[in-house]
Symmetry: D2
Subunit: 110 residues, 4 copies
């Protein structure tokens, strides 16, 4: 199989060999990574706020902002997962993906 086809296979399929993989485009990956970099910075910011005895209400508002940013990352991933692996595995007749998805939804829907 040409290198290109192998990459293409990896690109399109949710699993190479036994291990399940995702297949984000580089654009999606850099978007997700940029958002997570910002969140990581915000977490460090909260640590500094606590170290400097910043007023709790201000820290709580910063935590609410981080939760909202993390929620957006989760929804981006969910959307990508639904549109790739979930569709793919259902079309292959592998409905086990739905049971797996529901276990995750139970954690995200509080």
């Amino acid at each position: 199989m040409e290198l290109h086809d192998a990459a293409q296979l990896h690109e399109e399929h949710c699993h190479t060999g036994s291990e399940r993989k995702s297949h984000h485009s580089e654009k999606t990956k850099s978007n997700l990574t940029a958002r997570l970099n910002r969140i990581e910075g915000q977490i460090r910011g909260v640590k500094a706020m606590i170290e400097k005895d910043t007023y709790c209400d201000d820290v709580l508002n910063q935590i609410a902002a981080i939760q909202s940013a993390l929620n957006s990352v989760g929804k981006m991933l969910l959307e990508h997962h639904l549109n790739s692996c979930v569709i793919e595995r259902i079309q292959e007749g592998d409905n086990e993906v739905v049971k797996e998805l529901m276990i995750t939804m139970n954690k995200l829907i509080k």
Copy 2:
């Protein structure tokens, strides 16, 4: 005022001069910081998962775990805030703290 009293004053009061401050014990501070360090590490972990095309469902479960950990930090801070600055300011007749608290609660209670 003895240095000790000055520190005590800072320790007990929600505001030194015009700026509002919190006053966590060293024990609370290290507890909060340890939790935030772990969360920071988990965020870096999610970035690595995305970089390595880890299966989305696994990444989503990791995000749910981080949200839960962040929620605990928020609740610790809220409890501390209620027991220190909120009580203190209400006892000083400064009920403005309740309006401020409700604005923050609106963001935390989704």
Copy 3:
């Protein structure tokens, strides 16, 4: 004690005798009751949707709307509680109200 004073006592205090009471104005009560009537109607609407085999996605959207309406009622009650009984009991030196409040916050902040 004049009837008026007795009502006044009831109106202002979080507890008459051993039992804790709230003291909403009639305006607040009718606002809360109107919202709850609407929610009750929406719940009956969901039952009818399920009975008629309405498409699940439509029912899920209706449930999300009810959750949001119920959330607003909760926040109205919380605001009223903070501005009345919580302030009152803290001013009376009864800080136990903060522990009680935190137990409830732990259930509302998911």
Copy 4:
């Protein structure tokens, strides 16, 4: 087509003619309805609590219980929807269901 097959067709398919329908078993329907009846009763209970000036903290705890019960109904419906219409429409090549599902998830994941 035999009447039985027609009913079977209705039973298995997410849409009869132009309108989308769900197809719960009678067992699922009565389970959902029983839960919604309880929630409806709890809403009426909250109205009575407010009418009798029940202490706000107690009412807030009751609202948290209702939110949790409503959340369970939502998750039951989601699970059923994923296992029936979502699988069915994806297998028919109608991936539009994923876009529709994501819009609903955005409302349920707060």
